[in-house]
């Protein structure tokens, strides 16, 4: 066994730095996810089942939903393209780039682009493509592939990142994660501001509203969908959710399962290109819907894999991934797949070929940790077994191509023996005799390494007299089976009841959400925001909310004076209490509306707040530049207490959400965990978020 896969496995196991990184990932992620799921407010198993059913319904009716979705997206003014395969998808992107005479493309993380091999074809066409997710940026600088679908640089330690940055970015060598992050921020800021096209993925497409939903922590997803004139979104056709309620359900699960967060820092909801009076946002938006084998998968026994929401939880839970890491997963020809781990071993053969990639599914002990970790309850072990049995076609000859020869012949022999009790008994005897010859004085056999078993384990010798033989001589058929013994062990319950009770789902909580502005909600909001690293300040205001707001004016003025800042980017005056901007101007603060990368502080209002997650809801629109909460290092937000809602689902159904070109939910300062999962604040978006909450007297 000296193929590339086994070589990779051995070198991964022999790489102490990789082992340390993978261990840290497994431990950190597991703990974080458990904590995050505990905050769901409902039994995880119930929520998982609901999500599973929603996903099944979506995939079963995919044609219908896809058609509806496309109609809605087109109505919203987004140009829709459909790609049958990878080649078509790449061609579509290339043509859009050429039509716009693009030279520089800024990309946020999209697994579909890795799947279709987009970067090197764009580069071959003379375009400069820059990955802007910190992890992706690191692996791009190193000329590697992502080794994980959520944390692309999970295989690296900080020293390796420091060395890469030192070599490629010409900065002094350092292992300090905040310094490395700040270096990437500086370099990539230039890319965002000058890129001709932004390319992103799509986490969910909402059928009822035609919304593209993107979740990121760093802010690069917002940058590439807001700053360049042209935005191209790449999306697998299976990533649909029928309604905004379904979106809320998936958004409750995705970040928790992926990174142990209740919500990602930025949840972008993109409805349309920039509108006539919008101050910023991409002017031209394209959606490329990629099939690339998904429809074939949908009609196959592997259809369940389409429920996947790409959270990476199965990778983090998988004991095999923990040993070998994402880069080890390769085809027979040594070609990598962007999708490693359990889900990757199921989908890679569909996207890239069963005979080449089918072997990956055999690298699993079928322990089921992946299924247990999956937030939409995909039966991954069952699907891995189907890939082993021939994949999409369930073709036995395909299956055999990936069974090592010795194993296949061994199993044929075993089957011949095991379908006949006489032969089976003889074989047991033969096994015993063999073991006596091989190791006459030991109860243990030390098999040679090439047998696989002998690599690290000894084998107990077969018994001289197997159970069946002992039984047939009657020596263990004890006569203790007397009903008198029964009295000692009273029966507590029958199986049928116990098993049913065990599988019975707990009741779903049907509690009505509290009305917006409820005192407890405001408290909850402030607690969550502070946990995320933001600050929260109460400001008294007149009953009608429009009049005097002396508190607010004073707090913000003092804040700006403290930071010695005289110029801010802000939403229009009519988005705030009447006296706020005049009050600031009177204090000598210069207020601009247009984006300016030199400005340190952005001041925004907010459509609403979400108590559960401490999130601000910021819609685009006239007088409401998206950049004010994105480009400056410090984001100040004015939020009315009576617009603080309990949960995401309530907010998603507010009319303004569907009516704005784009909406972003901001949950604390920009952050990343891409270097050794070290939580670092401030990658691309603001480093500080301060909320001033207006409460009527």
């Amino acid at each position: 066994m000296s193929d590339q896969f086994h070589k990779n496995i051995r070198s991964a196991l022999d790489n102490p730095s990789l082992q340390a990184a993978l261990d840290a990932n497994a431990i950190r992620r597991l703990n974080a996810n458990q904590q995050a799921f505990a905050s769901l407010g409902e039994d995880l198993q119930v929520v998982r089942q609901r999500a599973h059913e929603r996903r099944v319904r979506t995939i079963e009716n995919l044609d219908f939903f896809l058609e509806q979705f496309i109609t809605q997206v087109k109505d919203n003014g987004i140009i829709v393209h459909r790609a049958r395969d990878a080649q078509q998808a790449v061609q579509i992107v290339l043509e859009i780039a050429q039509d716009n005479q693009a030279k520089l493309i800024a990309k946020s993380k999209t697994m579909v682009s890795e799947e279709i091999g987009l970067n090197h074809i764009l580069e071959a066409a003379g375009l400069r493509v820059v990955e802007t997710d910190l992890g992706e940026y690191i692996v791009q600088l190193r000329g590697e592939r992502p080794s994980h679908i959520i944390t692309p640089a999970v295989h690296l330690r900080r020293a390796e990142v420091g060395q890469t940055f030192h070599e490629k970015l010409n900065i002094p060598y350092t292992q300090d994660v905040p310094t490395l992050t700040a270096a990437a921020r500086r370099v990539l800021r230039e890319t965002f501001l000058t890129a001709d096209i932004g390319i992103s993925g799509v986490n969910f497409g909402v059928v009822e509203s035609g919304t593209l939903c993107l979740v990121t922590n760093e802010g690069n997803g917002r940058m590439v969908t807001t700053l360049p004139e042209v935005h191209i979104a790449l999306m697998g056709i299976e990533r649909l959710v029928p309604t905004l309620d379904d979106l809320a359900l998936m958004l409750a699960l995705l970040p928790r399962a992926a990174t142990g967060q209740k919500i990602t820092v930025y949840t972008s909801l993109i409805n349309s290109p920039r509108r006539a009076n919008d101050p910023d946002g991409a002017n031209q938006r394209h959606l490329v819907l990629v099939d690339n084998g998904r429809n074939r998968m949908r009609e196959s026994p592997l259809a369940e894999a389409l429920l996947c929401i790409r959270c990476g939880a199965c990778l983090n839970a998988c004991p095999v991934f923990r040993e070998i890491g994402g880069h080890a997963y390769v085809s027979k020809a040594g070609e990598g797949s962007p999708y490693p781990g359990p889900i990757g071993s199921i989908v890679s053969p569909v996207f890239f070929g069963q005979s080449e990639f089918g072997q990956l599914a055999r690298a699993s002990s079928l322990c089921g940790a992946c299924k247990q970790a999956c937030p939409v309850d995909i039966d991954l072990p069952k699907l891995l077994l189907r890939v082993r049995a021939g994949g999409v076609e369930m073709d036995p000859s395909q299956a055999l191509k990936n069974v090592p020869g010795g194993v296949a012949w061994g199993l044929r022999l075993f089957t011949w023996l095991a379908t006949n009790p006489g032969r089976f008994a003889l074989a047991e005897k033969a096994g015993y005799i063999f073991s006596r010859i091989f190791a006459p004085f030991s109860r243990w056999l030390r098999l040679p390494s090439f047998t696989g078993w002998g690599y690290s384990k000894d084998m107990p010798s077969p018994a001289g007299r197997p159970f069946r033989e002992r039984w047939s001589t009657g020596e263990n058929r004890s006569s203790m089976a007397l009903s008198t013994f029964r009295k000692e062990f009273p029966i507590q319950g029958r199986s049928s009841e116990t098993i049913q009770e065990k599988s019975k789902p707990p009741e779903r909580s049907t509690q009505e959400p509290r009305p917006p502005g409820d005192k407890d909600l405001v408290k909850r909001f402030s607690k969550e925001l502070i946990t995320l690293g933001g600050t929260f300040t109460y400001c008294q205001i007149d009953e009608d909310g429009k009049g005097s707001s002396e508190d607010l004016v004073r707090y913000i003025r003092e804040f700006l004076q403290d930071r010695e800042v005289a110029e801010i980017q802000a939403w229009d005056w009519n988005q705030f209490p009447d006296d706020l901007l005049p009050g600031l101007q009177a204090a000598g603060i210069h207020v601009v509306n247009q984006p300016d990368s030199e400005i340190k502080i952005g001041l925004t209002g907010a459509l609403a707040g979400i108590a559960e997650t401490g999130s601000l809801v910021l819609p685009s629109g006239p007088g409401r530049p998206l950049t004010a909460s994105l480009l400056p290092e410090i984001h100040l937000a004015v939020l009315r207490a009576d617009t603080i809602y309990e949960n995401l689902a309530q907010v998603l159904n507010l009319p303004d959400i569907k009516e704005s070109a784009a909406v972003v939910l901001v949950s604390g300062p920009s952050r990343t965990g891409d270097i050794e999962m070290t939580h670092t604040i401030g990658v691309h978006g603001p480093v500080e978020v301060h909320v001033f909450c207006l409460i009527a007297e």
């Binding site: 077994l385 049995a389 194993v407 390494s449 078993w453 384990k457 107990p460």
Partner: protein
């Protein structure tokens, strides 16, 4: 008089650990359940199923179904993995064949893993077992995650007198067996087992209790290779220990 239970002893226990099979019989007898052993049984077909060779797996499954559908009463299997094969593997294997599926369903409804049978079907908790040393528990994957059996072995272990129960750190992590996985991917399997052994050492217990002979073979194989003193044994042997002690008296 309790209904006779049919023992599906599993091919591993049959050929490698006949004493475990006997312990199962002794424990069942002790709680008043007579045991029958359909002697034509061989293997449930899981090795070929997991290898992706479904035709081969199917012929073994058909054999097993034929052997056991001619019997009556509960089928007791001292293995979470083989029980899961019958309960979840067989429906997959005979997918789309209503007649076979009905036979599978009838069989599967009668089939219980050993500890599941003791605790859920018989309602037994204290078997009066006695063990004077420390032991710990490895949660076998198919038992835990396919069958959802975790409470049952713990109830039985808590009732063992004399020794002390030690928690096994990360007891729910796979030991690296995975059937033919351990042969096809010995490097990964070995690395997973290394972790398991480190956790066994951390538990400070001398005995690791498991409900699956596959895990036991794997864990002991590694322990023996490394010259470690700890051993894994099947729960039935622990539960039968006191029965044997008493019969010695």
């Amino acid at each position: 008089m309790a209904e006779t239970a049919q023992l599906l002893v599993t091919c591993i226990i049959d050929s490698l650990y006949p004493a475990t099979g006997e312990a199962v019989v002794q424990v069942l007898n002790k709680v008043g359940v007579p045991v029958a052993f359909p002697s034509n049984q061989t293997c449930c077909g899981q090795p070929a199923f997991n290898a992706g060779m479904r035709a081969q797996s199917r012929s073994m499954a058909e054999h097993t179904i034929r052997v056991f559908e001619n019997t009556e009463g509960s089928i007791v299997v001292p293995s979470g993995s083989c029980t899961a094969m019958i309960r979840y593997g067989y429906p997959e294997l005979f997918h789309g064949e209503p007649v076979w599926l009905q036979r599978v369903r009838t069989l599967s409804e009668r089939t219980f893993e050993f500890t599941e049978f003791l605790v859920d079907v018989l309602g037994v908790s204290d078997l009066g077992a006695h063990f004077p040393d420390s032991c710990t528990y490895h949660a076998s994957c198919h038992l835990l995650r396919d069958l959802g059996v975790s409470r049952q072995p713990h109830i039985l272990l808590e009732a063992v007198h004399g020794g002390q129960f030690a928690e096994l750190p990360h007891s729910e992590e796979c030991c690296g067996f995975g059937g033919l996985f351990s042969v096809e991917h010995p490097e990964i399997s070995g690395a997973m087992l290394e972790r398991k052994i480190a956790n066994i050492e951390a538990s400070r217990a001398n005995l690791v209790i498991s409900c699956d002979a596959g895990c036991i073979t794997n864990i002991n194989g590694g322990l023996h290779r490394l010259g470690k003193p700890q051993r894994a044994v099947h729960i039935a042997e622990l539960l039968a220990e006191s029965i044997r002690d008493k019969s010695d008296d």
